[in-house]
Symmetry: C2
Subunit: 453 residues, 2 copies
């Protein structure tokens, strides 16, 4: 272990010391200078962006020419924030499904298909894996993890790449679980050697990692992290916050030996917001069943939900709390669209769009928050604005040009950057001009704000 890695480890901090009781839950994080040298003092060169042209070509070949039809949606600006995203017409039409009984066979059959298709989306064939779909938001996934998979007093290691790790840690503390955060500078992610050292210092019941932090666009290396955990701390559960990654990033639940991946409906999955979606390993379910204390949430308790999900998947009517039939229908439609081709094609379409966006950002002379190609998310790009230009200088112009981007969400630098989401139909439907239009609008908007490359 080098002294640099060791000094970085000193920055491990426990979350939540003395926040005011009713403080608005706002983004905050720890800022450090970016790591530009390796442990031997050599300057770190960015790795070459992977060439995805081959995959893209394959995707294009497979893609059937979609019918040239008018959208059923009213005219509106293209929503290109990192979620909610633009939705397909058929998905939105499913939201208007006539009312059905939540325990009637037609709806139960649809719910069963959704749960089975989630297994395909997460690439798990292990029958012990357990999908959950519950009315709520991505945040409810944190409650499910904190309430069901750990017990009060347990220690968890939270890898921090932005705002959402702070919140996840806050959630753990709510449930009496001790969350230790391993932080990285803004735009970077904790390094494997740092994670290894942290894992060896204490017995953690769980490691959590934000696959893509929506506040920074930083991508974590899930496969390598999971290998590391299984090697040095095999009893530690590997939990992935995939809210901004499921669909747009490669995830192989079984192959990567993940214990839980939580997500929401409104990002890479392409279904309106309102659902907490999760895949849990057989090992994690056993850990849940072996717990000594009762889960301290009622609505988020798998004690209540596990039999319901198992019944729904087996096409048996079952009741704990009323699901939203309309959202389940929309999710069903979206999953069927995604899975009508190999999931690799869906990922490849996202990679192609991401490469195009990142190239355009570089061509404009702009930098991303995510400092290295290997830690840049596929489904979104967080872009530093030129000096002197803030989001209010640019976002209204973009809106006038028919494009909605998001402002910053990282407390210390919120006014210095904007976020561009590129997921779902905006990148998979070749008839949609969303991405091209957004890139053009960004260039024009900056120019109108006085920026010259």
């Amino acid at each position: 272990m080098s002294s640099r890695a060791s000094s970085r480890l000193k920055q491990i901090s426990t979350h939540l010391d003395s926040k005011p009781f009713l403080e608005l839950n706002t983004p905050f994080s720890t800022e450090r200078s970016a790591r530009v040298e390796d442990d031997k003092g050599n300057r770190i060169r960015p790795k070459k962006v992977q060439n995805v042209n081959k995959e893209v070509a394959q995707f294009k070949k497979l893609a059937p020419e979609p019918p040239k039809k008018m959208s059923t949606q009213s005219s509106h600006p293209a929503l290109l924030i990192p979620g909610p995203i633009e939705f397909d017409d058929a998905v939105l039409t499913s939201m208007s499904h006539y009312s059905e009984s939540h325990v009637g066979q037609p709806f139960v059959n649809t719910f069963s298909e959704v749960l089975q298709n989630l297994r395909k989306l997460f690439v798990t064939k292990d029958p012990a894996s357990q999908p959950f779909v519950i009315s709520g938001s991505g945040t409810l996934g944190w409650d499910q993890v904190a309430a069901n998979l750990v017990e009060p007093g347990d220690e968890v290691l939270v890898l921090h790449t932005g705002y959402f790790a702070d919140s996840f840690a806050d959630c753990f503390e709510t449930y009496g679980v001790k969350a230790t955060q391993l932080k990285a500078p803004i735009g970077d992610r904790p390094q494997l050697d740092e994670v290894e050292k942290a894992l060896k210092e204490k017995e953690y019941k769980m490691l959590t990692v934000t696959h893509v932090d929506t506040s920074t666009g930083v991508l974590s290396e899930i496969k390598a992290l999971s290998e590391l955990v299984h090697r040095v701390s095999p009893e530690t559960l590997v939990v992935v916050d995939g809210v901004c990654s499921v669909g747009s990033e490669e995830i192989r639940f079984d192959d990567w030996k993940l214990d839980a991946v939580l997500t929401a409906s409104q990002k890479g999955i392409g279904c309106p917001a309102g659902l907490s979606i999760m895949m849990v390993s057989g090992r994690a379910i056993e850990r849940f069943k072996a717990r000594k204390t009762r889960p301290t949430s009622y609505f988020g308790s798998w004690k209540n939900w596990l039999p319901i999900m198992q019944n729904y998947e087996a096409k048996k009517a079952s009741y704990f709390a009323t699901p939203s039939p309309q959202l389940i229908h929309a999710l069903d439609t979206s999953l069927k669209q995604i899975l009508s081709r190999p999931i690799e094609d869906y990922w490849a379409a996202h990679k192609a769009a991401s490469q195009k966006v990142k190239q355009a950002v570089a061509d404009l002379g702009l930098k991303q928050l995510a400092s290295k190609p290997e830690n840049q998310a596929t489904g979104m790009t967080a872009i530093y604005l030129p000096d002197g230009i803030t989001p209010p200088h640019v976002l209204p112009t973009l809106l006038k040009k028919g494009v909605v981007f998001a402002g910053g969400l990282h407390k210390e630098i919120a006014t210095k950057y904007i976020r561009f989401g590129h997921m779902g139909v905006s990148v998979t439907d070749p008839n949609r001009p969303d991405i091209t239009k957004a890139i053009e609008a960004l260039g024009q908007g900056l120019e109108e704000a006085g920026y010259k490359k």
Copy 2:
């Protein structure tokens, strides 16, 4: 206090002794013989059903003739279960609203209108009252109450009129709150003298009452209960589970001095499932702010949601967890429809339909679970089947005739009764034949099953 009332009080029971860890959450309750005599031993005669004709006539007069249009919904059986209910075309169309940013001004404005209209729906003008709308289900309302308004170790009194009190008590226990249930025989409700005695025996931080228990169709007397609590135990918060009552039953939040009424979107409010909706008094919010311990839920914590709801209502963008824009649009549409006329008209339409249904049930020679006219819900009717006929003998026939009823949901008697929901557009839209068709189908279905009056 009579000896009978006193003997009934012995049946106060604390919930949840030793259920198996992963038992499916199924309905159960305490059954006792119905109370047919008063405390002096005289036979209790049913009170005369209130004459609602005057109100109904007024409602009809006010109702504009709706356009004779075809529904935009696909042909489907009329869903007449006690929630989800049939939805208006415009509400379902709002579910397909194009994607919007959850922090963009157009959506924030809509959310603000929803929160303001909820004040009208609950009939509260006190600016200290606080509405909440969170993605989830009615059940999440229990978590909000148990996590925010009481603290571990506190005592609460849960009035029991069916399955849902058992579950609410279960939720309290999850949060370390001691729930004492005051039970009544199936079809009846705890009497005011019993409640008074219970309140005097222990210092309860809160009394909860299910306004309409969906498993039995029993109506509780909220106004009288609240008066009682304020008289004999003024520090006790009055919390109403209004999941199956808000919209279909009269509720006057300020006048009745209620502290919290929780509900869901898919019943009397006429919006698809997926939202936990709540109104909380200024007194309860102060109680929340004065708590000594942190709420032990994250997703349900008002620490997180209170500033968000206040910001949304003030039309300021704010973020804790992503709401569902589509569901909020549907709720907005539904509330605007309901509030386009005095709320009393909406209640009167439900009373008229309820009277029609209950008369038809009596004409068929059938009995309701709710044993007395004054404790029968307005928005639903739980109907005992004739001897020898079970739900599977009747429900499939009803479905063939285009009507969906619900089976029983009360463990001991689940096979002995069916439930008929009559809320929302099925009772307020004079063009819909739902109720008439359902009454006819019920008579025919029973006849085909061999029943003769």
